[in-house]
């Protein structure tokens, strides 16, 4: 089992630790509900050092990234961050990721921990004919996410990182006590916030300063999942997979079909956008206290299985039993009455928006 550079801190804080994507990760410290509320109302800090980082540079870097990546980085200013996906040739999602434009020939990719090996193999396997250098930095870099309405103040006042001028989905690189750091106004919680990438020693130093200040609540992966789920953000492995397309996952807006050069997966997405996809990701509200978990069956009126739950919780900011489900498109219209099988019982459920809680980004 791999450990992040903050592992000893989590153990010292008494976190509940659990395996995630090959890492021994903190799930919660004081409790998922308290940590979730801290991010919605104040400031929380997450160790997300398990995330993978890959740098792509070289003469063809931009063209190569645009060939692999569903969004369009061509001609973007340095300092911009893009969300998007790498698609396979069947239009399925290899991974969803952030791409940071560091220079005209220099891009930094942040990928899911569970997909590091697969992604690196995919990137290298598609690089033939491109003049690029691909470096997997996953073992060398740590990452913390500082999230919540007070994140900006905490970064400026506690960590001494000027970030007020950073716009949503932009980043800057700077020095902190002689060490190189990269700071972006991004996150995975639906709140304003920042993600900081640096070497292990620097990440440990930043974490310790935050803990000593008492102004950022340590938050585990437990509330990271409830926070992202309530605002409708997908998690690879739940809402996204090698056999789920961006059209099915309702992420078409991050696939730029008007890019002049071809990119992997384009044809399938184009066809599905025109003809419709067989399945669609929807929100469900369960009319009961029972909770629909990942993998549970979704049924129609005739008790036929027409889909399955991808994520489900008793909402924290939303006091309801809510779920996301990938269902047959014929049953995806808002207001459709469906059923969810929860252990031995079947509960009525209504198709609703997956945005159960409103994001409050600072744009």
């Amino acid at each position: 089992m791999k450990k992040t550079c903050l592992h000893d801190r989590h153990v010292e804080l008494g976190a509940t630790m659990s395996p995630f994507a090959g890492f021994d990760m903190p799930i919660e410290y004081s409790g998922i509900v308290e940590e979730h509320e801290a991010v919605r109302r104040g400031c929380g800090v997450f160790d997300v050092s398990h995330m993978g980082e890959v740098n792509i540079s070289g003469h063809d870097a931009e063209r190569f990234v645009n060939y692999l990546f569903s969004n369009d980085v061509a001609g973007a200013p340095v300092g911009k961050v893009f969300y998007g996906m790498m698609l396979n040739r069947d239009g399925g999602v290899v991974d969803d990721l952030l791409v940071y434009k560091r220079g005209d020939e220099n891009f930094f990719l942040v990928i899911n921990a569970s997909n590091i090996d697969k992604d690196v193999a995919w990137i290298e396997g598609n690089a033939a004919g491109f003049d690029v250098e691909i470096i997997n930095l996953s073992d060398d870099l740590g990452e913390i996410a500082v999230q919540g309405p007070e994140a900006e103040l905490v970064l400026e006042q506690v960590l001494g990182i000027a970030c007020r001028e950073l716009e949503f989905y932009t980043f800057k690189e700077s020095e902190l006590d002689g060490a190189h750091i990269l700071v972006s106004r991004t996150g995975y919680t639906g709140e304003d916030g920042f993600e900081i990438y640096a070497g292990h020693a620097t990440v440990r130093q930043l974490w310790d300063e935050l803990m000593e200040s008492g102004r950022a609540v340590p938050c585990g992966l437990g509330c990271r999942d409830t926070l992202r789920f309530e605002v409708g953000l997908p998690l690879y492995g739940d809402e996204l997979a090698d056999d789920i397309t961006p059209v099915e996952a309702c992420l078409s807006m991050f696939v730029k079909l008007d890019k002049p050069e071809p990119f992997i997966g384009k044809e399938v997405v184009m066809r599905q956008k025109a003809e419709g996809a067989p399945r669609k990701l929807v929100g469900l509200e369960i009319n009961d206290r029972a909770i629909a978990r990942h993998g549970y069956e979704v049924l129609n009126d005739n008790d036929e299985v027409i889909g399955h739950v991808t994520t489900g919780y008793r909402g924290i900011s939303v006091d309801k039993s809510i779920a996301a489900a990938l269902v047959d498109t014929r049953y995806a219209a808002m207001g459709t009455q469906l059923k969810v099988k929860i252990r031995r019982k079947v509960f009525p459920a209504t198709v609703v928006s997956r945005k159960f809680y409103k994001k409050s980004y600072k744009k």
Binding site: I27, G31, I32, R289, I291, R293, R314, S321, R343
Partner: protein, 120 residues
């Protein structure tokens, strides 16, 4: 008298009646309980088989019955207030059963054995 399972349920036996719940250790591991899936009065439970689930924010945990019997009451306070389990797991039992095979108690752990095995 309390008896315990390896899967962190207890049965508190008074005469022929058993109060089944989850242990303090289990509630602590689970965190905030948000839902308890309970059988209905009149249902049968079988030793070693699941009869419902306790759900925390993060996951559902099956409830495994320590004993066989018929459900004579479910703890209805848990429907609207599942967190009672976090407040006092040993007092807030989940179901009350009439034991059909009290000899099964011999397969369970005593409080001392359980506490030694799962130090809180």
């Amino acid at each position: 008298m309390y008896y315990f399972t390896e899967t962190h349920e207890y049965v508190n036996v008074e005469g022929n009646v058993g109060y089944i719940g989850i242990t303090e250790y289990a509630q602590n591991e689970l965190g905030n309980v948000v839902y308890v899936d309970m059988p209905e009065t009149g249902d049968d439970v079988i030793a070693g088989e699941d009869f419902g689930a306790v759900e925390s924010v993060k996951a559902a945990s099956d409830l495994i019955s320590p004993v066989s019997g018929a459900v004579i009451e479910v703890n209805e306070h848990l429907i609207d207030n599942p967190r009672l389990i976090n407040e006092d797991a040993m007092k807030n039992w989940i179901i009350k059963v009439e034991l059909t095979n009290p000899e099964e108690l011999g397969d369970l752990m005593s409080k001392e054995e359980y506490d030694t095995k799962f130090k809180i």
